[in-house]
Assembly symmetry: C2
Homo-oligomer: 228 residues x 2
Amino acid sequence: MTTLTAVTDSATTKGEQTRELILSTALRLFAEQGYGKTTMRAIATEAGVSVGNAYYYFSSKEHLMQAYYDHLQNEHREAVQTVLAGDKSFAGRLTGVLRVWLDVSAPYHEFAGTFFKTAADPKSPLSPFSPESQPAREASVEIFRHVVAGSDLKLPAELAAELPELLWLFQMGIVLFWVHDDSADLRRTKLLIDRSVPLIDRLLRLTRIPGVRGVANDIVGLIRAIKP
Amino acid sequence: MTTLTAVTDSATTKGEQTRELILSTALRLFAEQGYGKTTMRAIATEAGVSVGNAYYYFSSKEHLMQAYYDHLQNEHREAVQTVLAGDKSFAGRLTGVLRVWLDVSAPYHEFAGTFFKTAADPKSPLSPFSPESQPAREASVEIFRHVVAGSDLKLPAELAAELPELLWLFQMGIVLFWVHDDSADLRRTKLLIDRSVPLIDRLLRLTRIPGVRGVANDIVGLIRAIKP
DNA sequence: ACGATGATTTGAACGTGTTCAACTTGTGAG
DNA sequence: CTCACAAGTTGAACACGTTCAAATCATCGT
């Protein structure tokens, strides 16, 4: 079973050290030359271990990328704190969160294509809908819960409850657009964020109109119905 | 079931015959054992040619899948005709088109995951946004243009112009959901279609309300702004 | 009929991710 | 301190997609 030392000291065991060494080497090579051009042999050589050893800690190359993704998400979660501390308007908070995500992820734009390629496979543990990535997904939704909760937005309770997940889905759409965006300085993605967020804001506030609220309620009902 | 060997007729030169032979063999093996488990060596052996010969006609395994996708889309385009001939209501036409797509694609549900995995890579020619697949994409949008044009829907001209592409995007969303749907008999995807289409219908008709029309116009403006 | 030229075909070889049986090292009970 | 067992480590070997120089074949002008 798990040793006591693993509980008290997470990074000092021999195994843990090797694990960290392999991971950091992999992340560095991914960033330097991209995922596709980084071979498992290169990672092992650069880290000074054998190929088999890398597989002892990470059961596939994809799992190394999973770690990479977690790394990015942690950066995002931290960077978001200052944004959410300084703005109380819903549109401002949402734009800020998405902008920060863009900043954090910008260095890896080229690499991202490969990532989403494997993430699109429903059987892959990297799929954003997979059970394995539920913790990461939940953490991400939590950010949007915070965006909504700390804002000036007044919504029907049912809609407010589903909104964070909807915003997470919206972010996935932004990411999809971003992956395909080859405009200079990501001009188009920034345009999309800056112009779509106010629209969402207006759309949400329109739910006061009775005719619109009816549709909104039905949308919420649909979402609940199709959840697994 | 529709035959996969329909491709194998109309072959004149030796090269064409070989090409068709390799393609039909590949499609058969894909359907029999899935994309991942079908090796290029197996395709070549089964077709009675060498591996290199397969690569002479199809520059990669992905290109064989591309042919597979074209095959599916042709089936869909044909099957859709009867639906569009018999229903004049917008919601009915849209539901019909999506339902037919589901029927045509149902046999390949498991295989579809692998397909969308490679389709998600922006650098892949199989990406629905790639220049290479523009003809296929255009043909698909054309179906939705037909859905809108032949319906009872009355919309502001600007919105009506963008709607077919938006519906295509909506279908991509349905497909994404479908790929991840493991419910029995695709219950959840069918639910999604049957309930989301009436919502879209209502939402579109809401554009008569001035407050809503403003947002709708801005959405159209945004879409035009971010197009490449 | 006969080369010549381009189209077609071959299969060995390469680089990749991954596996695995064997080996070495660390740990803790007696 | 010893030593058995678990933890960690190794690198050769496998299957796969892909490449390519060489071999074979088909077609055409003469």
